[in-house]
Structures are given as C-alpha cells and as structure tokens.
Symmetry: C2
Subunit: 321 residues, 2 copies
C-alpha cells in the first residue's frame, strides 16, 4: 500500500480529527505521541477494502476502520508494558518514555476513543458492530494472556500455539474485515467468509513472521536474524523442532537455551532446524492457512467482485522483510 | 440499602449471568474474584432508581446499571495498580494477589464486559447511552491522572481539587443517573438535572470522606483517624488549612509532613486545623454541594415523583463511618 493511497490518507485524516486535548498532559501527550507514529495501517485499510468489496464506500466504513486502528494501538501500549518492550517502531514505547502508570491510563483512554469511533457508525448496525468488536477485544486479551502463560511452560503443542496467534493477532484482522461487511449489510455467509479469510490470512502472516525472524533477508529486515532464538521464544519453528527431533537433538536444543555466545546459539539451533527441514515444514503449515484464506475469498458471492483485498494479501505474503 | 433490597438482588443476579469462562485462568480468575467481592453497589442502584423516577422499570435499566458497576470495578483494578494499593474491601487487590500484568489485562477484559452490557440496551437509545458513557469513562481517567499529578505538586488550589474529585468520582454518579433517564426517554432538562444531582452529591460525598478520615467515629469506622494526614495526602482539609494559615502555622504544617511519630503528627495537624476551624469550613463546602444537589432534584419535573433517590442520598450523607 503506497503512502499516497486514498485509503491511508482517509485513515490519517480521520485519526487527526480526534482532537486530543492538551490537559492533563501526562494523559494526552502519550496518546498524541502514539497516534502520530508512522504505521502501515493494515487493519483499518482492510475494513475500507471490505466495505468496497461488498458494494459500500470508504466513507461509510471510516469510523469502524478508525475504531479498529485505535483499538490496535491501545493493545500495543498495554502489551508493551506487559512485555517490558523498550522500543516500538524504532522509538521508545509509552511506558519507557513516561512510566507504567501513565501507559496504563493513556491506554485505557485510547480504548474509550475506539468505542467513540464505533458509536459514530450507523445506529441500525451498531449492536451488531459492537457484538463483533467486543467479542474480538476479549479474544485479543485471551491471546495475550496465553502468550504470557507460554513463557512459563516448557512445552507447547502446535495446536495451542496456533490458537494463541489466532486470538492474539488474527481475530482482529477477521473483525476488521467483518465490520466492512456488516456496514454493507451483506449476507451472513459472506460475513463469515470474509471473517474467516482474515483469520486465516492472519495466522499465515504470523507464521511467516516466525520464519522471517530466522531466515529473512537481513539487508531488507535491517536487523540480524535469530532474535526469537536468542530470546528462547516459542515459535512455530521451535515447536515443530521439538516435535520432530530425536533425543540427542532435543538435548542439544535444551542445552542451547543456556548458550551465552549469540552466534553459536543461533548457528547451533539453525543447524538442527536445517537437519529436520523445519523451515519447509513451517512454510507448509503457513501455506495451508493461506490456501484456506484463498478458498474463503473465492466463495464470497458479491456483484462486481474486485480483487483489491487479494492483491494486498499477496503483497504482504510476498514480503521478505 | 438493605442486603435484601430488590435492587441489590437484581444487580447481583445480572452480574452472575456474565458466565466468566474458566480459561485462560490467569485472565478470568481475577475477574471472578473481583466481581464476587461484596459491595454496596451504589452506582448501579442509582441507575435503577433513576429509571423508576422517570417512569421506567428496573428491568429496562438493568443492563446499563450492570455496565456502570463493571466499569467501576475495572477502574478500581487499574487504579489499585497505579496507587500500589495492597488491600481493597479488606482483601488483597488483584495486582497484589496475582501480578501487575494480570491486573492490567483482566481489567481490560472487564472494560469490554461493561460495553457488552451496554450493547444489550435498547438499540434506539444505544448511541446516546454510549456517548454519555464514553465521555464519563474518559473523564474518570482524567481525574485519576490529575490525582496522580497532584502527588508531585506542593500546592493545590481548592478549585483544582474539586475538579479532580468531580472527574475521578462524581461524574460516574451523574452518568449512572443520566443513563436511567435516557432509558426512559425523559426531557433534556430532566437528564441534565439528574446528572447534576449526581455530580453534586458525588462531590459532597467525597468531601465528607475527607472529613471522616480525620474526624469520623473510630468505633464505627473500625480504623484509626488520620490516615490521610499520615500519608501526607492532599484533601480539602489540608487545602483549606494551607489557604487559611498564617506563616507560623504554615511552617509547622510543613514540618509535620516529616514528623515520624504518628500520634504527634496527627495531633499536631489536628490542633492547627482546630485553631483554623477547618472542619466547619470543609463541612460548609460540602453542604453547598449537597444543597445544590437538592435544588437539582427539586427542579426535576416528572409524574408521581418518588423520593427514593433523595432517601438514599440522605442515608449516605448521614453516615458517620
């Protein structure tokens, strides 16, 4: 999506209309700081494209789109506290630049701001939009809790891991798309198909993230490979390796968790992953979700079906950054 | 309000219908723990009584009432983190029993649960309810931020202090009452009057809290007087003392902030307050807000006006605990 896209412009314009007050500055400065951050704004653009797919306009969908974007930003502020993340999109996180209390409270206000946007949608569809949005908001929290719980678990099943990424990141893509469909009053089947399309695409993206962290083109990423390995993070790669390794490999992977030399650690893990063909196995799982998404999309029945959503998804799936 | 009141029973019954899931248990156990706490449920009862005042029924107002109660509980969970409060209503706070991250996230889910309740209200009034609720939710956060900011300020004006307590606690009483009025479709004048009644009553209650902390009957409170003085907390008492004291008294009050002997500290402060007649001055401010509330109530025009709200307010104002 180019920076001059009319979709991106509309979202940025609408975000600016929020008129964040000056005072109390400790509450509102972080909100301005966060909303001014550059971002691809994928989620709200999905809502706009979905509305257009089902015969609506960007204008009709803009408030729901902005609600999704603000909600997403709220979750990032709170997640960054919980993950003790110092940096987001190259600049200090809110709790790092201010403090935890300010990050909790300004996050809470952003959450209300998301609902403010929703309440500007057409009253006749407001209950349905709220139902989808509330369900999704709770699922995103469940996903974050599962992710935190996983940090204290030795072994995680592929099923639980996929469920975690589904909740933590994919349901919001599904919700963003379904909101566009709700706004256009399309059929229940179409609503479900576009939601499932988003959920499947989201899971595929997240698995791709896992792969790129270790195997991505470092020149394009702008950072070294293997951050997840260094942090002993559970990813689909590590879970598939655990499932497929023999006793010797499993012991070696366990030993490498405490390896202090970063290069030795990454190379050691990568060498076992390569022996087990983990990258291909992971890509296979990713492709199955992507194929599921394409199938969902093909089954949508709508007049003058356009492929903008498919093109965006393809572009995102073909990134190697 | 007796424990067998039909209002309290309805709220407790509706709260139980939330069907909080089992898993992830780290997310949902704290929510169950908090919602099961005993409480007077003043705010949701105000919504029910307001609906009855304007010719509606408890049934019509129950979802809005429960939304207010859950929202209030959400703010307590997050405020307790920010205030590092170990105990609430005699038992450990969520962040103390679990941890800060769990308290942030389970609070967030409770916030969504409040909106879930709102979205069950009649669709035709949903936009108006959301508008009032969103505005209030943001104001409550502004009040909490002002309260935190005050901790780092040497001197606070009476005006700023009243504005802080208005935002932090009183607007929610106004909102609870206005929701009952919105549900019954009463006039704009009545909506404003019942909102203002709640706001004025709320400010009067809060000032009363300040007075009772130092001058309340210790037998009824079940704790010693002077907690606010010991914590060097800004209250209307301390602000009025600052305004009215001469240089000598002001210096002595400043010195007492660092006094280590608790009894000497409380007695020293109380002695200056007594010389300055601070208790009466504070009670006078409280009475002016209470009188404002009574005036608001008297101006409400509705058929078969009942006095249940006035009786509840009187009972609360006459507590000496």
């Amino acid at each position: 999506m180019s920076k001059t896209s009319p979709y991106l412009s509309l979202i940025q314009e609408e975000l600016k209309k929020n008129n964040i007050p000056e005072n109390p500055s400790n509450l509102y400065d972080p909100i301005r700081y966060f909303l001014d951050m550059e971002g691809k704004k994928i989620r709200p653009i999905l809502t706009l494209l979905s509305a257009e797919l089902f015969g609506g306009t960007m204008e009709q969908a803009k408030h729901a789109a902005v609600a999704i974007e603000i909600f997403h930003n709220f979750t990032l502020i709170h997640d960054d506290i919980m993950d003790a993340a110092p940096i987001r999109r190259g600049i200090p996180t809110v709790h790092n630049k201010w403090n935890n209390n300010i990050a909790i409270l300004s996050g809470d206000v952003m959450f209300v701001k998301a609902y403010e946007q929703l309440s500007l949608c057409q009253p006749n569809i407001l209950p349905e939009l709220l139902k989808t949005f509330n369900k999704t908001a709770i699922e995103v929290c469940e996903g974050q809790q599962m992710d935190m719980d996983f940090e204290n678990q030795d072994s995680i099943s592929q099923e639980d891991y996929i469920e975690m990424i589904r909740l933590k990141t994919s349901v919001l893509l599904g919700c963003a798309l379904e909101m566009g469909a709700i706004i256009c009053g399309t059929s229940a089947e179409n609503k479900k198909l576009i939601y499932d399309f988003g959920e499947n695409i989201g899971i595929a993206f997240q698995i791709q993230d896992d792969i790129l962290d270790l195997y991505g083109d470092t020149k394009k990423v702008g950072k070294q490979n293997g951050g997840d390995v260094l942090a002993n993070k559970n990813t689909l790669l590590s879970i598939l390796a655990e499932m497929n390794s023999n006793d010797e490999q499993r012991l070696e992977l366990k030993r490498l968790k405490n390896e202090k030399d970063a290069t030795a650690k990454i190379e050691g893990v990568k060498s076992i992953f390569d022996d087990l063909d983990i990258k291909s196995k992971c890509a296979e799982v990713m492709q199955s979700y992507y194929a599921g998404a394409l199938k969902n999309f093909s089954e949508i029945k709508t007049k003058n079906k356009n492929n903008a959503l498919l093109e965006l998804s393809n572009a995102l799936m073909n990134r190697d950054f």
